[in-house]
Amino acid sequence: MRIMNILTAIKDHITVQEATDFVQTPECGGVAVFVGTVRNQTRGKKVHRLFFECYTPMALLEMEKIAQYTRETMGIHKIAILHVSGEKLPGDTVVVIAAAAPHRGAAFTACQYAIDTLKETVPIWKKEYFEDGEVWVAAHP
């Protein structure tokens, strides 16, 4: 979804550049970005690949809520929240969040809030594939 100051997307492939291109404006001197990538190991076990399943329409709504909240309360002007779906390999980029604000402190605060909240509320699920099996991440206590 792309409204004036918010870009949210779930798709196969995302780049840092498209997020920073969207948020950068000549009015905003500071852009904070978070880039999340597939790690190659979890608790010492080698991860061969990952799969991201998304409840896409709800995930986009939750991402928009996060974006709106940061815009309304944290002094940022523009924000982009991008997440991948489908199969991914170690090193691949899976999430990019970019926030632009006149003051860089606001951009950092919003960016960190957005990734923290995304990981708690956005209905996306990650399955890790190891040599000897697979597991839905964080499903069990």
Partner: protein, 77 residues
């Protein structure tokens, strides 16, 4: 009444969509029904219900035609 399932909940149910022959009136009742039908859902760290793409509390009423989804612990990012 159709229920969407995702992630590990889909694996536990063995299907991405299930049908409830007897509709339930409330989120709490739906949760009870699901826990009885798929006891392994109780072992999850959490199990939220979303109604029309919004997280729903246990007291929320369910209407015919609602889009209902089972949301196991999320792990995006």
């Amino acid at each position: 009444m159709r229920i969407l399932l995702f992630g590990i909940a889909k694996d536990i149910a063995g299907a991405p969509v299930i049908e409830l022959e007897t509709p339930v009136q409330q989120v709490a009742a739906l949760r009870e029904h699901l826990y009885n039908r798929y006891p392994r859902l109780r072992e999850l760290r959490s199990c939220m219900i979303a109604v029309n793409k919004v997280y729903a509390g246990d007291n929320e009423a369910l209407q015919p035609g609602d889009e209902i989804a089972v949301i196991p612990p999320v792990s995006g990012g």
